[in-house]
Amino acid sequence: MQDEDAQGSTTAPRRLCWGGGALLLTACSGPQSVLDPAGRDAEVLAVLFWWMLGGAVLLWLAMNGLFFYVTRMKERAFSPQAADRLIVFGGVVFPTVVLAVLLSFALSEMPRQRDLGEGLTLRVTGESWWWRVEYRTEDTETPVISANEIRLPAGSRSELELAANGYIHSLWIPALGGKTDLIPGRETRMSLEPVTPGEYGGQCAEFCGESHAKMALRAVVLPPEEFAAWLEQQAAPATPPETETARRGQAVFLREGCGACHAIRGLGARGTIGPDLTHLGGRRTLAAGVLPMSRAALEDWLRAPEAIKPGVRMPAYGHLAAADLAALATFLEGLK
């Protein structure tokens, strides 16, 4: 025991060091990292970042080397001519060239990030505290409405119109591109060109109120044909419930007035305040990335949403009978 303790205490700082290093490294990859790009725009940002990091490291070494040389190795002062040359070249010419190169590279990339989309337009509205997402293609009349999940086809550029209801937000999906603010009363826009299919994390990146930290979203990049099939499925009305429990859940949904805020296309609920629930069960997460999509999580959410997301507009339905609440969760989870 004693030996172990002694060993533990000597290795603790080293462990901490390795732990810290590992923590830094984990930030470099994963579904929500700028340094693990999965889209054209994020690639540019990553390239820019690595070049700037490399350049900064080189400059740091050069400056410190020069400082070391001047203070420790060089015995005599520079001649006035040499000093002038050093100041003019090192202090004016060199930074001007470096900054001009960086600036022109960055500026040359900007138009592409503001390119128009190639057919698909998403309208993303920042609500308190969730994302309303509407999809419009060239051949759809009315938009397909969803929430808290952005699906995009890989290999083509999609346009995002951004709006906000009430508070300022910022949409950031690090693996796909930079961030853009969502401003009440103003429309902003961005476009994204995802490359690698997969699931990526996104987050509100501008403090917007009580539940800012709980306003995440999931970005799902699909191969184009899979995306088209998904969008077609989303455009369809909800499938009527099949089991007895789910039918009871639907009755509870309509009886309790949930349709005042939520729409379930095809089942008689037309509210527009809260998220469209027509295909709720098909989403990866619940309550803007806060909970997994499961029956148990739905029940918790319905019972006390305020406990999960402070300041939420959704009222609590904890007064419902337990069986009604369970049936409601079953019904909602079944809306694939």
């Binding site: 009430g166 009755a251 009886r255 309790e256 007035g257 949930c258 349709g259 005042a260 509210g271």
Partner: protein, 359 residues
């Protein structure tokens, strides 16, 4: 002695403290003797020493003037307000202040201070002062405070007090008579609908909603001075019977033609509006499917009552049954125009139960 002389008095700090300490002790002993040995005569027969009544009443009058700042409603002196105020007065205030055309009892006149006769009140005070006194009461006079936090339902009483000086005993009797054994009917009408737009009609409501509301009034969960008074005369055990009787009424009446305001209200009620106001119809009808019977029907409900309630909901001051928090969420973004439009819309509908299933 000049002020210089005052300064030149011997200043022995210790003797000053001693003198003050002695006086304080003597004062405490004196006060203790008055309280402990009952030396002060509290008898109402002996009245006050000369001048004390004047000091007390002037203090009262000035305290009210300083604090009375409520704005009277535009329809303060409408007959509907006076009628509702008269009925509440008859239940809660008549014992002390008597009624128009009738004298105060000899016992009441022996109170110190004696409560003024109802017809002698309005001449002394501005409407906002009457409102303050009825809502706040006055300590050590026998005048109680309003039995609710909410202050807007005090105005009918103010309206009645203003009408009382010119009211005949017969008019008062007509206003306050109630069918034998049916205390609800005095205000709400024998069929649950009185025709007074200040008083909600009950014939459109469900048994579950009426019972929940009566319990909420009794417990104070729903804040209303008028209903708190009314429910203090109704035992808990009587609630189911009252709820069943009221809910059994079949609402009758025509729809009113809709004006532009009501049309705006219709759009808001059916579809929600402005991004943050949910649709009313999903809970309150008109609706084809069965709705939770704990939600009140609003079809044909009186507009002034609806406006007042929506304002209370918006301010999160309404309270009520187990689902009240839903409405506090729903109403918080309503504007004054929304409230006027919604009240106009629901008031224009033909009186009906909650949903088209007829229950």
């Amino acid at each position: 002695m000049t002020w210089r002389g005052l300064l030149s008095l011997p200043r022995d700090g210790r003797s000053v403290v001693k003198t003050l300490g002695f006086l304080a002790l003597a004062g405490l002993l004196g006060a203790g003797a008055v309280v402990g040995f009952g030396l002060y005569n509290v008898s109402a027969k002996s009245g006050h020493w000369a001048g004390v009544s004047w000091v007390l009443h002037t203090t009262f009058r000035n305290a009210v003037r300083l604090r009375a700042d409520a704005t009277p409603p535009e329809d303060l002196d409408s007959p509907a307000m006076v009628a509702l105020g008269a009925r509440h007065f008859d239940s809660a205030c008549r014992t002390c202040h008597a009624s128009p055309g009738r004298p105060r009892s000899a016992t009441v006149r022996a109170m110190v201070p004696a409560p003024p006769h109802v017809s002698a009140i309005a001449g002394q005070w501005q409407p906002q002062e009457l409102h303050w006194i009825v809502h706040q009461g006055a300590k050590m006079t026998g005048m109680p405070a309003w039995p609710a936090t909410r202050a807007d339902d005090v105005w009918p009483v103010v309206a009645f007090l203003r009408a009382a000086p010119d009211m005949s005993a017969q008019t008062y009797r007509d206003l306050t008579e109630s069918p034998e054994g049916q205390s609800c009917a005095m205000c709400h009408g024998a069929g649950g609908a009185s025709g007074n737009p200040q008083i909600p009609r009950l014939d459109i409501l469900s048994e579950a909603y009426i019972a929940a509301s009566l319990r909420a009034y009794r417990s104070g969960a729903r804040d209303s001075g008028i209903m708190a008074e009314a429910m203090s005369h109704v035992p808990e055990a009587a609630i189911p019977e009252i709820a069943a009787r009221m809910a059994a009424q079949v609402p009758v009446g025509p729809a009113q033609p809709m004006n532009a305001l009501a049309r705006r209200g219709e759009a808001l009620a059916l579809r929600g509006g402005g991004g943050d106001v949910p649709s009313c119809a999903a809970c309150h009808g008109p609706w084809d499917a069965a709705l939770n019977p704990l939600f009140p029907s609003l079809a044909g409900q009186h507009a002034p009552y609806l406006r007042q309630q929506l304002r209370l909901w918006r301010e999160a001051a309404r309270g009520g049954g187990p689902v009240a928090q839903l409405m506090h969420h729903a109403a918080r973004d309503l504007t004054e125009e929304d409230i006027a439009a919604l009240a106009a819309y629901y008031a224009s509908l033909a009186p009906a139960k909650l949903d088209r299933t007829g229950k």
